[in-house]
C-alpha cells in the first residue's frame, strides 16, 4: 500500500534558512543542506525547498544549494519560489532536484504547466496553490479562491477549477496551502483538502496549519491527502519526524518506517 508522506518545508533566502531552526544541536543552524540532511536521517519522505530570494540575479546561489543537497540526501526533493519559465525549471532539475514547483507564474501563465510537463514529465511538475476561504460567488463557487503573493492578491479563480485545470495541463502533484490555516497550528483546512483531493487524480499535499501529529493523521484520513507539509512544528523542536510518523502508524495511517 502506498505510504502517506511527511514532508518538511525549508524556506531559503540567499542560500540560508530564513527561520532559526533549533532541533539539531550539532548542525550549522541556517545551513539548508545540513538541515535537509538531518531531516533525511530522521525519516523525512521528501523535502520541499522554497526559495524566497528576492533578486532574480541571485538565483544561482539556490542552484548551488540544490546541487549540494542532491549529493547528500537520497530522497526526492522539490524546489519552488520564483520559477517563471521552462528554463528556470530546467536549471533546478539539472542541479539535482526531483521536482520543481510553480505557483504565481502558473496562475498568470497556465500553459507553463503544460510546457514543463512536456519537457520533463508530469512527475517533475508540482503546482503550488495558495487558497483563501471566501463567500461562494460566481468567480469562486466552491467558496475557495486562488490567491498569490502570500494571499495579498485575489485572482478571481475558483480553487477547485484551478486544480482540475492544472491536472489537465499536466501537473503531477498539487501542494495545497490554506492561507486561513497557515500559521494557526489549529490543523489543516480539511474541507478544502478533501474537496481538492476528490476533484483530481493526482496527489495532493496538505499545507498550512500543522500544530501536532494528530493533524497529519486527519489530513491523510478525512482530508484524503497523499502527503502533509510541515514546517515550524519540527523546525522548533516540538516534534520529530520520526515521532510524528510513529503516531501516524499507530493510528493506522500507512507510513514509511524503515530508513
Amino acid at each position: 500500500m502506498l505510504c502517506k508522506r511527511v514532508i518538511p518545508c525549508l524556506d531559503v533566502r540567499d542560500g540560508r534558512l530564513t527561520k532559526g531552526i533549533k532541533f539539531a544541536g550539532n548542525v550549522d543552524i541556517g545551513d539548508p543542506v545540513a538541515t535537509a540532511r538531518a531531516y533525511y536521517e530522521q525519516g523525512a519522505d521528501e523535502i520541499v525547498f522554497y526559495d524566497i530570494t528576492a533578486s532574480h540575479e541571485r538565483r544561482d546561489i539556490m542552484l548551488h544549494v540544490v546541487d549540494r543537497v542532491a549529493s547528500q540526501i537520497f530522497i526526492p526533493f522539490s524546489v519552488g519560489g520564483g520559477i517563471r519559465s521552462v528554463e528556470d525549471m530546467r536549471s533546478v532539475l539539472l542541479s539535482g532536484a526531483e521536482k520543481v514547483s510553480v505557483n504565481s507564474a502558473a496562475v498568470k501563465d497556465p500553459d507553463l504547466i503544460r510546457r514543463g510537463a512536456e519537457a520533463f514529465g508530469s512527475q517533475c511538475v508540482v503546482l503550488g496553490m495558495d487558497v483563501l476561504r471566501v463567500e461562494p460567488t460566481g468567480d469562486a463557487p466552491s467558496g475557495y479562491e486562488v490567491v498569490i503573493h502570500g494571499g495579498r492578491e485575489r485572482m478571481g479563480m475558483d480553487a477547485l477549477e484551478w486544480a482540475r485545470e492544472a491536472e489537465r495541463l499536466g501537473a503531477g502533484e498539487i501542494c495545497l496551502n490554506s492561507i486561513d490555516a497557515d500559521g494557526t497550528k489549529d490543523g489543516y483546512e480539511l474541507t478544502l483538502t478533501r474537496l481538492v483531493s476528490d476533484a483530481v487524480r493526482i496527489p495532493v499535499i496538505a499545507s498550512g496549519g500543522a500544530g501536532n501529529p494528530q493533524h497529519m493523521v486527519e489530513a491523510a484520513t478525512s482530508g484524503r491527502a497523499s502527503a502533509a507539509l510541515i514546517a515550524s512544528i519540527v523546525h522548533y523542536g516540538d516534534y520529530t519526524i520520526a515521532g510524528i510518523k510513529e503516531l501516524m502508524r499507530q493510528k493506522g495511517v500507512p507510513v514509511r518506517m524503515s530508513w
Binding site: M1, L2, S71, F74, Q123, R201, I202, S258
Partner: protein, 210 residues
C-alpha cells in the same frame, strides 16, 4: 567501474550521485568501449519507452547490452530501464530488449486502494515483499522495506523471473530478473539508506562476478 548507460532517457545524474556517495567508481556513458570495460552495468531511465528503444537501436546499444548480459556481466535495470529489458511494453507499442520474458501493463484506472481510486502514476513510497527471491540484492535490507516509485506501467514477467511484489490497487512485480540480471521498478537512488544499500549490494556482486 560501473557503467551507467546514457541513452537519452532522462537525467541520470542522481544515480551517479548515489554511487559517488558510496565511493563506487562509475561513469555515465554511451560509449561501447567504456561499457565493454565495465564490471557491471546500470541501465536507468525515465520517460517514454518508444523514444528510449529507438535511441538504443540507432546507437547499437541494444545489441551491446544483450552481448554483455550473455557474457555474464551483471546488469541492474532501474524504472523505465527495467521495463525495456522485457519483450514488449504497450507504452508506444514498443518492443523491448527481450532479455527477460514478459511484458508491461498500465495501472488500470478503476483500481482502488482502501476504497478510493488510485492515482496514476504510482508515485511515492511503497513496501517490497518477497525479497528472499533476490537475496544478494536485498542483503541487509528487511522484508517489507519501502522504496520510492514513480511509474504508470509495471512489469509482468514470466513467473520464474517474478522476484518481489508490491501492492498498489493490484499486486505487481517490483523486482524482476534472475541472479546477476536484476531490474527494479523503484528508484534505489531516491530510496534513502535502503536504496543505497541495494546499489552497494549490486556493486559487491559485480566485484565477485568479475
Amino acid at each position: 567501474m560501473i557503467a551507467i548507460v546514457d541513452y537519452e532517457a532522462g537525467n541520470l545524474t542522481s544515480v551517479k550521485r548515489g554511487l559517488d556517495y558510496l565511493d563506487i567508481p562509475c561513469r555515465i556513458t554511451a560509449d561501447a568501449e567504456t561499457i565493454r570495460q565495465a564490471r557491471g552495468i546500470i541501465f536507468p531511465g525515465v520517460g517514454a519507452a518508444g523514444q528510449a528503444m529507438r535511441t538504443l537501436r540507432r546507437t547499437g546499444l541494444d545489441d551491446l547490452l544483450r552481448e554483455r548480459v550473455q557474457r555474464g556481466v551483471p546488469l541492474l535495470g532501474i524504472c523505465l530501464g527495467s521495463q525495456i529489458l522485457l519483450q514488449s511494453t504497450p507504452e508506444n507499442d514498443t518492443r523491448g530488449l527481450e532479455l527477460i520474458p514478459g511484458h508491461c501493463r498500465r495501472f488500470a484506472p478503476d483500481l482502488t486502494e482502501a476504497g478510493l481510486p488510485i492515482n496514476i502514476p504510482h508515485m511515492g513510497w511503497n513496501a517490497v515483499y518477497g525479497t528472499d527471491k533476490a537475496p544478494f540484492l536485498f542483503s541487509g535490507i528487511g522484508e517489507g522495506t519501502e522504496f520510492y516509485f514513480v511509474h504508470a506501467y509495471y512489469p509482468v514477467p514470466a513467473e520464474p523471473y517474478w522476484l518481489t511484489s508490491t501492492d498498489y490497487g493490484t499486486r505487481f512485480c517490483s523486482v524482476l530478473g534472475r541472479e546477476g540480471l536484476w531490474a527494479v521498478q523503484f528508484h534505489p537512488e531516491k530510496s534513502g539508506r535502503p536504496g543505497l544499500a541495494l546499489l552497494n549490494n549490486f556493486h559487491d556482486y559485480c566485484r565477485k562476478a568479475h
